[in-house]
Symmetry: D2
Subunit: 357 residues, 4 copies
């Protein structure tokens, strides 16, 4: 269904070529200020970037209702965006000849001929716009607990950033460039990687690493509504995500317990860990250390190169070269979406756990 969360819920609506898309956020406590600048700033990081992004550019001006004099009232908050720059004619053929690697085929199998295939319908990256706005709106809510969320891109195709960064640094520095890279040198290499793929009529994948600092210990509602499980569910809703790992992630499988366990010490009267192999999650709850996880985005499936597909009507093999306007890489634009889903999940779990009232 198109709803996520429990104490705070987000209901997403619209489709890529609908006149409007948006979301309803229910459960935000009354009396909470809504910061439109913060929303606009995060939306900016989701926009396609000149040269490396899709030529479809939307104004992305949020219309927000359910607030009075800039503060929440206890009613749901609704954020909507109008779609204007749509070219639906590009898509009708895909109902018959599905794009390899895209949602077309399972969507038509599931929803039948009524499936809205224009622009990818509800499976379009366009649907992440309201998610980013919702996440931005809730930053101040978890900020009241001292929690901040940021991310950066650690990999685009073959370009890998192997440096180690201070989480506090990540929260700000990667916001300065559309690649969400931590240095201009890496930014340049990542941009080049994307442009080469684009010129080949192809696309590349990437990895986003996300941090949340300032979490109290105990956030998460085991047995099943774990911190890592809820974040994973939220993040897998983002189009293109294929993997997630917390702390060492898959590398933990190759470690010994004595290497992977994070030793506790007392520093200034507080419990700290000397390392963070766990990525800040133990037993499905925040440990008090920095939440640290990485997310893999696959290369955009919509590519100009000719591909093998099938004609679902004639049940014969067919070839396909995808028209329409698509990003050659979505990992960099996806970073702010990962942050948004993380902020949302933390806000929901903070309310569920009684950390916010």
């Amino acid at each position: 269904m198109n709803r996520i969360g429990e104490s705070i819920t987000l209901t997403l609506f619209g489709a890529s070529h609908d006149s409007r898309i948006g979301c309803v956020i229910d459960g935000i406590p009354p009396g909470y200020p809504v910061n439109v600048e913060s929303i606009t700033a995060d939306l900016e990081l989701r926009k396609p970037s000149a040269g490396i992004g899709t030529p479809r550019v939307e104004a992305d001006v949020p219309e927000i209702s359910g607030i009075v004099d800039g503060i929440t009232t206890g009613c749901p908050v609704v954020i909507t965006f109008s779609n204007s720059n749509t070219r639906s004619s590009d898509y009708e053929q895909l109902r018959r000849i599905p794009r390899p690697g895209h949602a077309d085929y399972p969507a038509v199998s599931k929803f039948g001929p009524a499936h809205d295939i224009r622009g990818g319908g509800m499976f379009s990256g366009r649907m992440t716009t309201p998610l980013v706005a919702a996440g931005a709106l809730l930053r101040d809510l978890i900020g009241s607990l001292g929690i901040s969320v940021g991310s950066y891109v650690t990999r685009i195709g073959s370009v890998v950033d192997t440096n180690t960064y201070d989480p506090a640094d990540v929260l700000t520095r990667s916001r300065t460039n559309p690649l969400r890279a931590m240095s201009s040198g890496i930014e340049d290499r990542m941009r080049a990687e994307i442009l080469v793929a684009k010129s080949d009529g192809d696309s590349v994948g990437g990895i986003v690493r996300c941090f949340a600092t300032g979490l109290p210990a105990g956030l998460g509602e085991p047995f099943f509504d774990t911190l890592d499980g809820e974040i994973s569910k939220a993040v897998f809703a983002i189009p293109g995500v294929k993997a997630i790992g917390f702390g060492e992630g898959f590398a933990a499988a190759g470690l010994r317990g004595s290497e992977n366990n994070d030793a506790y010490r007392i520093q200034n009267g507080s419990v700290v860990t000397l390392t963070n192999h766990a990525g800040g999650v133990l037993g499905g709850m925040s440990s008090g250390a920095v939440l640290d996880f990485s997310v893999a985005f696959k290369p955009t499936p919509s590519i100009a190169k000719q591909q093998m597909s099938v004609d679902l009507l004639t049940r014969e093999d067919a070839e396909l070269s995808v028209k329409g306007r698509h990003d050659p890489c979505i990992a960099n634009r996806g970073a702010i979406v990962v942050e948004a889903m993380t902020v949302f999940t933390l806000a929901d779990l903070a309310l569920r756990g009684g950390f916010l009232v």
Copy 2:
């Protein structure tokens, strides 16, 4: 909370050293046969193995109610197990001196002094017993759609199985040995890896790869209740899981779209993919290809080696050597739990999506 699922829900109860643990499964359609042999067989794969597992051995005889003459009635099904082999005295100290890498510290932070720390309480691997039974019970339900679920262990510490196997083979072959290895040669090497760690007072991690065959296209309820997201949430509830990846997983980030997209062809009148980089998931729905994902288990945090911890009462540094009876590796025993959570999630999504009535 201790409930998962929507159309079929599972509510887990008990704790490691409670007199009984169990679960309530609600929403199974009436008239469905319950196969106790299948449950016992799956429970056998969860049991610790002589030599490489914990010396705590429980009979694990399921008591099942809510069925009449071997079939479901439309009432909830309840499965319980008695705990007999408990030694709670080993644990009281952990309330003050939390085990590094374990849930102790966040649990005490969250639940306070009332936290049931005996045997790890609700954070114990013991809690996965009812999960395995529930999964086994639901195998026939998804089996009626032609779906089968199996898994094998691809890595224990430094021992990595890089072979490629036919999914149909995986469904049966790895059930013959407690390591869940695909060959006796690999089994021997994995066992040796565990025994060396154990003799060092240490532990090792591992990776489980899970397959589900026979899925129709369209299973999963996007935007948020995606097939990959729901499986991830269910799998991260298993103690020790740190990462999950579908198909290529993190490796997708290094691929081009033309490499990662799975070409469609018509074979015998059906739509098939020539490859399965997507792991059987597109747009949060099953694509019709084999569901294929891998899960990383960290090394067991409870190790005999001395570790640095803190005394939460005196707020001073402390040292800890974990007593109690613990597995030096949980990945192999975790494989059947991954299968169980997968079966459960597929059953729930099949009912939600109208595939089962």
Copy 3:
């Protein structure tokens, strides 16, 4: 929270004096036609009537998104209405001096100073506009099962309609007049009752009786999600409702089992009941007989007559005469809202129970 339902969910948003109000309906199967005329017709029955209703009149033109070429796609359907005829200045005083019998006092207690008190905020009868539209939209969905829902007003103040009507007759006849009366004679008397109260600066209550015909046996999901319980929950969300009774309702307490039990007989091969004291509900499920329940609306609390209240700021007694534009009776306008909530609940339960796929 502002969401109801499970397989079909309705999320309500906005407030009396927001620029827009509306709802998101998620879970409607794809390929289902949306009948705008039916929506407009039901909205007409909710509008205030000249002479006996509030002078605040809104155009109530629904803007519907999430459909393509007049049919649902599997995406959520969003229905919104703009508010134009608002006079918020009438309300600010009520934050300090709450109206007796109105939500003002508990709302300010719960939501604090951020509560949106303009026009009653989310507690306004205005919020029932999207509910009526949603119910109208779903009539065709349950219509595909042969289910029809109608209602009439059996009481306004001291005017009581004690006649017995054929349910099929009720489904159509009461739609011809704004009092929702079953005859013009009763309509005249009810109108007079309201006008007298109005001229006294006062208001009157009323009773709505609702029928649903064509239900299959077995709709409802006991133990807790019963047909009567779910309808009651949905109906108590309508502002002003104070009681609900199915079939004999409270009168059942005075009957013997031999009087109250509805005898079964076979007619034309079908199981029928000779009477319907149960109102079509047994064990929380539809019995196959006509669903028959009555709902009491209290008199509108906002009256011009002077009333005793308190000043929440000075903590002193205060007097109040309510300004603003209010209906002297809401039962007649409430009838179509009762129908809408009933249609919604039946649609949700039909999907949950596998009656619709």
Copy 4:
């Protein structure tokens, strides 16, 4: 489904003639004492009374798990009861010849031949045993907010108690007799009414009035999760309930606003209402006045008198005289169940609303 509640959930399992029945209560905060005496005392009020109740008597000894040293740990609490006094042979015939007024016919329609009809299965009054225990267990939780819940029987058949009582008096006095009457004179008349019906092979209905004192203003989560709506849903799950009304209930329809509105005054610095026509609910939230509602129970449908039914196999008319052991009145035993569902709902809403942490 067999679960109710949100922040605190109750999952009910078992059936009338299962070996065990019980419930899982999830979400109770850790560190909360569990009072077994209070549970036993409430269960006593649910037991059939010598002479006027069913001869089926169960020990009703609760087995409680999920607590350590008498306090909750944050894990779910499980309460079970064994069934011993069952005579399933009485029931098989009812699968073919359903009892008029009972759940048999819709249950067989819904669940098919797998429906557990022994003792009424999950539709038996037996299933209310765990509900009463759960309610009793949660009394202390809402007691920590100053909330107390009690009830009395205002009507059995033609015997009506028209006296007015102080709510504080109701909380204790009606617990002294199995009729839940407020005086021995009324108790005697009610008992006689039941015995006459019983000797006629018949049954009688009744009305329970329930009070909750000490509620803060603002309990309830509008728009849809209202205090009155949630209580109604919970109460309609009790077998035999046909109507509910808050405060004036249906009588409000005959009042004017100036009569029905409850005037506010300041008394000792607090806001009070001079009357309580609203029954303590305004806008779906507690008003701060005493919660006051009445619930109608129908006469027990299982009666010895011969009744008209049908044979579902031959599709012919049939006659039926119900064997088995049944109460000639369930309203008096139902009173404590109404209290239990009320306590549960108030506890859940108190947690949801942040009144308890």
